[in-house]
């Protein structure tokens, strides 16, 4: 039950960004932008440390008073950032991981689409539908 989902390319520009309560969209865009710094820090820090292999799931990037931001980076340096509502405490780590896995699978499908040029914004409706299913239901 995410509030905002973003897919960011290797060069740090957004390929896809969508948030549910559309009035604070700018605030979410800003949060995703600031979380990119944390993502970069995690990627470079673990590279220098003596960790054998790095996991793709980065975990909680930073918590704010009413939102938590999670990150995931693929082998092609494409980042997925997810913002969830803090009041939704029922969300466990496993569920976030499975949401990221679904995102990764859908993103791979988009990449394999011959009509998609790598580096363009994502317009695929299948991807949109998958993301809608993951978003929080605001009544």
């Amino acid at each position: 039950m995410a509030v905002c989902i973003a897919v960011i390319a290797k060069e740090n520009y957004p390929l896809y960004i969508r948030s549910v309560p559309t009035e604070n969209e700018l605030k979410f865009h800003y949060m995703v932008h600031t979380s990119l710094d944390v993502v970069d820090e995690k990627i470079s820090a673990l590279g220098k440390a003596l960790v054998d292999q790095r996991e793709l799931y980065l975990g909680l990037l930073y918590p704010t008073e009413d939102h938590k931001v999670y990150g995931y980076v693929t082998n092609s340096k494409v980042k997925f950032v997810m913002v969830v509502d803090s009041s939704n405490t029922a969300l466990r780590d496993n569920e976030i991981r499975s949401m990221f896995r679904k995102l990764h699978n859908s993103y791979t499908d988009v990449m394999c689409n011959p009509f998609y040029n790598p580096g363009d914004r994502i317009h695929s409706r299948a991807f949109d539908n998958m993301v809608t299913a993951m978003m929080i239901q605001v009544c």
Binding site: R54, E55, N75, S76, Y107, M111, C112
Partner: protein, 159 residues
């Protein structure tokens, strides 16, 4: 997993079709066809580079990415692994395959040596595309001394 020959047949037809349609038999026209094949391989490599390493852990350095190419990519596309990987640690890698599946049906020796590059262009593009998705800009060329053994040379372009 689909039969390996499906891809081999398709690849052979691709090369045959490009050469049959080539209206310009001079070296310039040949180059265009080779370039078309390489670009096809590039786009396929980009998609493969996204799909294959899906559940593997992140690569820590270039050598890991090259090892992934030699093991997992070759296994996925050609159902075998490469026979060797050499490097000079300065950004040049040589991938050796003594029994390249796309050449194995053609000959075993010096016959058809001039035709061999056409059948390697797609694979060069494939390697370049996969490396591109993994974040490594490179230049890939192929060389054949005696069929079906061939060498792919990967030169990493540093900015």
């Amino acid at each position: 997993m689909a039969d390996a020959v499906l891809f081999e047949f398709l690849h052979t037809e691709m090369v045959a079709e490009l050469w049959a349609r080539a209206s310009d038999p001079s070296p310039g026209g040949q180059k265009t066809s080779l370039w078309v094949l390489e670009n096809m391989g590039f786009r396929v490599g980009q998609s493969l580079g996204e799909r294959l390493p899906r559940d593997t852990l992140a690569f820590r350095e270039e050598l890991d990415a090259l090892k992934f190419l030699c093991r997992d990519l070759w296994a996925a596309v050609f159902q075998k692994q490469t026979d060797g990987l050499r490097t000079n640690h300065q950004g040049t890698y040589i991938i050796l395959d003594n029994d390249f599946p796309l050449l194995v049906r053609m000959a075993a020796g010096q016959q058809y040596l001039e035709e061999a590059p056409k059948f390697l262009a797609f694979t060069c593009g494939l390697l370049r595309g996969t490396l591109n998705t993994l974040g490594i800009k490179s230049l890939v060329t192929a060389a054949v001394a005696a069929l079906p053994a061939c060498k792919f040379q990967v030169v990493i372009q540093r900015a």
